[in-house]
C-alpha cells in the first residue's frame, strides 16, 4: 500500500531517469515540488479519489499551474508564473492528484510533432530519432516511458490522440464542454479540450471523472455534473461499430490497415456488429480545421504583447532602433514566437481579413456544419461508435516534415474532425510496426463517454497493443 509520498518518490525518480536519457519531455520539473505535494496529500484527512496513494500527473505546459511556471513552450511566456491554476488542475489536486511536472509541447499547442518548442524537441520514447507526436508529445512520452501513469494534455486537432497513438498509450479527448477550459491557455477556442493521456483506459476514465463537470468560470462548459463512468462491459454485444470508408483510403499505409483489420476482427469476436458507413465531407476536415484554428489563434495570441506580463523586448533590443510602442510590440512578438506560431498567426489574420473572410472563414464554418451533420446522421442511424486509424503513419523522423507544413498538417486527417464536431474520441494501442506503436481511434456522439470508454476498454482487452504486425 503506497502513500502519496511514496508514489511521488517513485514518479520523481522515473521522471529523472527519463529525462536523463534525453527524452526532453519536461519543461519544468523539481522533485522537491512533487515530494512536497506528496506530503500534503498524505496529511489530508479526506481520502484520495485517485487511487489510495494519490496520483502524480504530468501536466502539459499550456495548462496553468501555481507550482510551476507555464510557458506554452514559448519564449514569450518564459518564466511566466500564473497567479491561478486551471479548474481541471484544482479538481485533480482536491482528489489527491499531484502536479509532477510540466510537460513539453509544440509551442502554444500548435503542431503535430513536439518539435516546435522553444525548449527543444521531445524524443520518441522508443526511438530517439523520431517524434513522439504533438502537440502533447511530452505528456505522451512520459506516460509511455512509465514515468507517470497519467497526464493532462490538450486536444485541438488531435493533439492528445495522435501522440498517444505514436507512443503506444491511451489518449482521450472528451466532448467539447465536458471539461472546463478555464486555465487552459487558448489556441483554438471552439476546438480546445483538456484531454487525458494514460497507461490504460481505466486510468483515463478515472481522471476524466475528476476533472469533468460544470464550471461557472467557463461559459462553454456544459451545465452537467462531473461524469461517473462504470467500466462494466465484458464484451461488445449489442454494440454497432461504424467503419467510415473515407478513413480507410486505398492508399492507407498497409501495416496500419492490417492493424485496424485485426482490431476490427477482435471487436467482432467480442460481439460487436460492424457497419460500413460514409462521412461524405471528411475530406474537408483538414482544410476546415486549418482555417478555423489559426483564425481563432490569431486573436487568442494577440494578448501576448509584453505589457502586463511575460517577456518584453524593447524596440532597441529587437533591432528596431526605435522605442515607441509599435516597435516594442513587434520586437517582443517577433522574438517571442517561433516559426509555426508565426505561420498560423499570419494565416489566421489573413483568413479573417476583409476581402478574404467570406472565401475562407465563412466557407470553413459551413464545412464544419456539414462535417458535424455527417457524424450526427451516422450516429442517429444506429451506430454506437466509429472506429478508424488514429494516424496515417507511425511516428516519423524528427526534421522530416519541418520544411513542409502542409505535409505535417495532413497527418491530422483522421483526428481533427472530432474537434470540429465536438464529439468525444479516444486512441487505444492496437499493434506495432517495427516496434513503433499504432493507434486505433474510437469516436462517439456528444456526451457518450460512458459508451466510448466502455468499448475502448473492451478493445484494450481483446486487442494486443504490443503485437508486432510487420
Amino acid at each position: 500500500m503506497t502513500t502519496a509520498y511514496e508514489a511521488a518518490q517513485l514518479a520523481a525518480a522515473r521522471i529523472e531517469a527519463a529525462e536523463s536519457s534525453g527524452l526532453n519531455a519536461t519543461i519544468a520539473f523539481d522533485p522537491e515540488v512533487l515530494l512536497r505535494q506528496g506530503r500534503e496529500v498524505d496529511a489530508r484527512t479526506t481520502p484520495s479519489r485517485l487511487g489510495v496513494g494519490g496520483l502524480p500527473l504530468a501536466v502539459k505546459d499550456n495548462i496553468c499551474t501555481v507550482e510551476y511556471d507555464t510557458t506554452c513552450g514559448s519564449r514569450i511566456l518564459e518564466n511566466y508564473r500564473s497567479p491561478y491554476e486551471a479548474t481541471a488542475v484544482s479538481r485533480l489536486k482536491a482528489a489527491g492528484g499531484m502536479v509532477a511536472c510540466k510537460s513539453n509541447l509544440d509551442e502554444f499547442a500548435m503542431g503535430s510533432s513536439s518539435e516546435h518548442s522553444a525548449f527543444g524537441r521531445v524524443r520518441h520514447p522508443v526511438d530517439a530519432e523520431r517524434v513522439p507526436g504533438g502537440s502533447s508529445g511530452g505528456s505522451a512520452a512520459l506516460v509511455a516511458a512509465g514515468a507517470v501513469d497519467a497526464a493532462l494534455g490538450s486536444d485541438t486537432g488531435g493533439s492528445v490522440r495522435q501522440p498517444a497513438a505514436f507512443c503506444g498509450v491511451v489518449g482521450l479527448k472528451p466532448t467539447y464542454g465536458r471539461v472546463s477550459r478555464y486555465g487552459l491557455i487558448a489556441f483554438g477556442s471552439s476546438l480546445d479540450q483538456i484531454g487525458v493521456i494514460a497507461a490504460s483506459v481505466q486510468q483515463a476514465a478515472a481522471v476524466l471523472e475528476v476533472i469533468s463537470g460544470r464550471d461557472e468560470r467557463d461559459s462553454t462548459c456544459a451545465d452537467v455534473d462531473p461524469i461517473d463512468i462504470s467500466l462494466d462491459r465484458q464484451d461488445l454485444d449489442g454494440i454497432v461499430v461504424g467503419l467510415p470508408a473515407e478513413y480507410f483510403p486505398s492508399d492507407l499505409d498497409p501495416v496500419t490497415r492490417k492493424a485496424c483489420d485485426r482490431a476490427v476482427d477482435a471487436m467482432r469476436r467480442a460481439g460487436a456488429v460492424t457497419r460500413d458507413v460514409s462521412l461524405p465531407h471528411a475530406r474537408l476536415a483538414v482544410p476546415c480545421y486549418y482555417v478555423i484554428a489559426p483564425a481563432e489563434a490569431s486573436a487568442n495570441l494577440a494578448r501576448y504583447d509584453g505589457v502586463r506580463y511575460g517577456a518584453r523586448v524593447t524596440g532597441q533590443e529587437g533591432g528596431e532602433g526605435v522605442d515607441d510602442l509599435a516597435a516594442m510590440y513587434r520586437a517582443t512578438r517577433g522574438a517571442g514566437f517561433g516559426a509555426e506560431v508565426r505561420r498560423r498567426i499570419v494565416v489566421g489574420t489573413h483568413v479573417l481579413s476583409s476581402g478574404y473572410y467570406e472565401a475562407y472563414y465563412t466557407k470553413a464554418q459551413i464545412a464544419r456544419g456539414r462535417i458535424t451533420r455527417d457524424f450526427t446522421a451516422v450516429f442517429d442511424g444506429g451506430v454506437d461508435v466509429l472506429f478508424t486509424p488514429t494516424t496515417p503513419t507511425t511516428a516519423f523522423k524528427a526534421g522530416e516534415l519541418l520544411g513542409d507544413p502542409v505535409a505535417m498538417y495532413l497527418g491530422d486527417v483522421f483526428v481533427c474532425a472530432a474537434n470540429l464536431a465536438g464529439i468525444p474520441a479516444i486512441s487505444v494501442p492496437i499493434g506495432r510496426a517495427n516496434g513503433l506503436p499504432i493507434g486505433g481511434q474510437l469516436m462517439a456522439p456528444v456526451f457518450a463517454e460512458q459508451t466510448l470508454l466502455n468499448v475502448a476498454q473492451v478493445m484494450e482487452r481483446v486487442v494486443d497493443g504490443d503485437h508486432e504486425l510487420r
Binding site: I63, C64, T70, C72, L77, Y80, S82, P83, Y84, A86, R181, Y182, G183, L184, I185, A186, S189, S190, E216, R217, D218, S219, T220, A295, E296, S298, A299, L301, A302, R303, D305, V307, R308, Y309, L325, Y329, T349, L352, S353, S354, Y357, Y361
Partner: protein
C-alpha cells in the same frame, strides 16, 4: 447655395452594474489604479469571460424604451486591434447580430418641431482600460480598472439636421436612460461618451457628402459647438471649390485637431466570440422587462400637465427627473393643489436639491404639512419658505418647528385688536397726520403692530383691522 447638414451620433453609455461585464470585479469609479482587476479583465492567459445578467437586463430595458426590436438571439464578436489599454488585443463587442436594431428617439427640434430620429442599433460591449499619456515622460501609463466595464453602444441614423438637434438628441437620450436607471450618464466621469459625424450636401441633393468625425468631446455644449464649427468649415471648403477630407478630429484640447486622416483601413476582422455561446433573451424575460418599464419622460410630462393642470413648461421641469416627478405627485397626493405644488417644487425644492447634490432632502408629506400651515394662515408664505430648509435638518413636524421658532402667526382677533388699539392710542400724532391724508403712515402703523407682536401677528388681519380702526 443652401446647404443641408447631416449628423449622426454614436453614444457609448456605461451600464449601471456593480460588477463588470465579463468578470466579478467592481465597477466603482475613482478607486486606486489597477485595484479592480482580475485575470479575466487583464487578459491573463487561460482566463475566460462570463456574462453579467444585469448588464444584459439594462441593455434590454434601454432598447425597449428606445423603441428597438430586441433580438431574442444575439452574438458577441471579437473586434481585433492592438492598443495597450486593450488587454486581450481584441474587444468583446457585438457585430452582425447585435442585441437590438431599428429604434427611434423623438426630439424637439427648434427648426422642425417634433421629429423622430432613427436609431440603427444598440449593442453591448466591454470597455477598454485608460491610457494616461502625460503622467510619465516618454511613457504611457495604463489603468485597467475600466477594462471590462459594460457599455451599451447606441448608433443613430444620420437623421439629425443641425448641431442644436444633436444636442437635443443627447439631452433626450440621457433623460430616458436616467429614467430607466440604466446609467447615470455622467459625462464628467466618462460614463457617457459621444462620437459625432457630420457631412453637408446642397439642399435637395440625395447623395451624402464626405463625412468627418469628431471624438473626445466632454460636454453636450462642446458637441454642439464642435459640430457647428465643423459644419461651417465644410461649407467654406466646398464653397471654395475644394473637397472635404474624410478626417477624424479630436476635441480634447478645446479646438478641433486632426487625429486621423482618411478612414484608416481599420480592418477589425470581426468574428463570433467562440468563448461565449449565443445570448438568448427568452420571451418571458422580454415581456417582464417591457411590462416593468417606468413611465417615460414624454408621457409623464403630458400626464402631469393633464392630470394636475400645470402648464407644459412647468410639466417639463417637473418631469426632468423621475425623482422630482415622483416628489411632485406625492406632494399633490398629500392634498396640495397642482399649481401650488408645482410652484414649490420648481422653486424651493429644486433650489435646495441643487445646493445639496441633487438630494431631495425634505419628505413630500412634511412639505405638504408646511404648505397647509400657509393655507391655515398659521405662517405666511414668506415664513414658510424660510422654514423649508430648516425642515431638512430636523425631524420635527413643521408645526412643532414653527412653534419652537416662535413664528406661528397669531390671528387671535382679541389679541390683534388689543395690539392695534394700543398702537393707535400711543401714537396720536401719527393718527392725526394719517387722518389728514398721510396715507403712507399705514406702513408705520403696520410696522408698530408687527413689532409689538414680535412679527407674529398675521399681517393680513392686522392690515384689515388698521384700515377699519383708522378709517373711523
Amino acid at each position: 447655395m443652401t446647404w443641408e447638414t447631416v449628423i449622426g451620433l454614436e453614444v457609448h453609455v456605461q451600464l449601471a452594474t456593480r460588477s463588470k461585464l465579463f468578470c466579478d470585479c467592481s465597477t466603482v469609479f475613482g478607486d486606486d489604479p489597477n485595484a479592480n482587476v482580475c485575470p479575466v479583465c487583464l487578459g491573463l492567459p487561460g482566463a475566460l469571460p462570463v456574462t453579467n445578467r444585469e448588464a444584459v437586463r439594462l441593455g434590454v430595458r434601454a432598447a425597449l424604451a428606445l423603441g428597438f426590436a430586441v433580438h431574442r438571439t444575439s452574438l458577441f464578436a471579437r473586434k481585433n486591434y492592438f492598443y495597450p489599454d486593450l488587454p486581450k488585443g481584441y474587444q468583446i463587442s457585438q457585430f452582425d447580430q447585435p442585441l437590438a436594431s431599428r429604434g427611434a428617439l423623438e426630439i424637439e427640434s427648434a427648426d422642425r418641431g417634433d421629429v423622430s430620429i432613427g436609431l440603427t442599433r444598440l449593442h453591448l460591449e466591454e470597455d477598454a482600460g485608460k491610457s494616461l499619456h502625460d503622467r510619465f515622460p516618454d511613457q504611457t501609463a495604463l489603468d485597467f480598472n475600466r477594462s471590462g466595464i459594460p457599455l451599451a453602444e447606441i448608433v443613430s441614423d444620420p437623421d439629425l439636421r443641425s448641431p442644436a438637434e444633436a444636442r437635443a438628441y443627447l439631452t433626450t437620450l440621457k433623460q430616458i436612460l436616467q429614467y430607466l436607471d440604466v446609467s447615470d450618464c455622467s459625462m464628467e466621469e466618462g460614463r457617457l461618451r459621444v462620437d459625432a459625424n457630420l457631412s453637408v450636401r446642397s439642399a435637395g441633393q440625395e447623395a451624402l457628402g464626405v463625412k468627418q468625425e469628431i471624438k473626445n468631446m466632454n460636454s453636450f455644449a462642446t458637441v454642439e459647438r464642435s459640430l457647428d464649427y465643423l459644419r461651417l468649415s465644410q461649407i467654406q471648403t466646398l464653397e471654395d471649390g475644394a473637397t472635404v477630407e474624410p478626417n477624424t478630429f479630436s476635441a480634447a484640447t478645446g479646438t478641433l485637431r486632426v487625429m486621423r486622416t482618411k478612414e484608416a483601413s481599420h480592418d477589425y476582422r470581426y468574428f463570433p466570440e467562440p468563448d461565449l455561446p449565443p445570448l438568448e433573451i427568452g420571451r418571458d424575460w422580454l415581456d417582464e422587462e417591457r411590462n416593468s418599464l417606468p413611465e417615460l419622460p414624454r408621457a409623464l410630462c403630458a400626464r402631469l400637465g393633464e392630470q394636475y393642470g400645470v402648464p407644459s413648461y412647468d410639466a417639463g421641469v417637473l418631469a426632468s427627473t423621475r425623482a422630482l416627478a415622483d416628489y411632485f405627485e406625492q406632494l399633490a397626493g398629500a392634498g396640495v393643489d397642482g399649481r401650488t405644488a408645482a410652484h414649490w417644487v420648481m422653486g424651493s425644492v429644486l433650489q435646495d436639491a441643487n445646493e445639496n447634490k441633487g438630494v431631495l432632502r425634505v419628505a413630500p408629506t412634511r412639505l405638504a404639512a408646511l404648505i397647509h400651515m400657509v393655507g391655515n394662515r398659521q405662517v405666511s408664505l414668506q415664513t414658510a419658505k424660510r422654514l423649508f430648509p430648516e425642515l431638512a435638518v430636523t425631524d420635527e413636524a413643521p408645526e412643532t418647528l414653527a412653534a419652537r421658532l416662535e413664528v406661528i402667526q397669531i390671528d387671535d382677533e382679541d389679541q390683534l385688536s388689543e395690539w392695534v388699539r394700543t398702537v393707535i392710542e400711543t401714537h396720536p400724532d401719527e393718527l392725526s397726520r394719517f387722518r389728514e391724508g398721510e396715507s403712507k403712515l399705514m406702513d408705520f402703523f403696520m410696522g408698530r403692530v408687527m413689532k409689538t407682536s414680535r412679527g407674529k401677528a398675521d399681517p393680513k388681519r392686522v392690515q384689515q383691522m388698521l384700515l377699519d380702526e383708522l378709517g373711523r
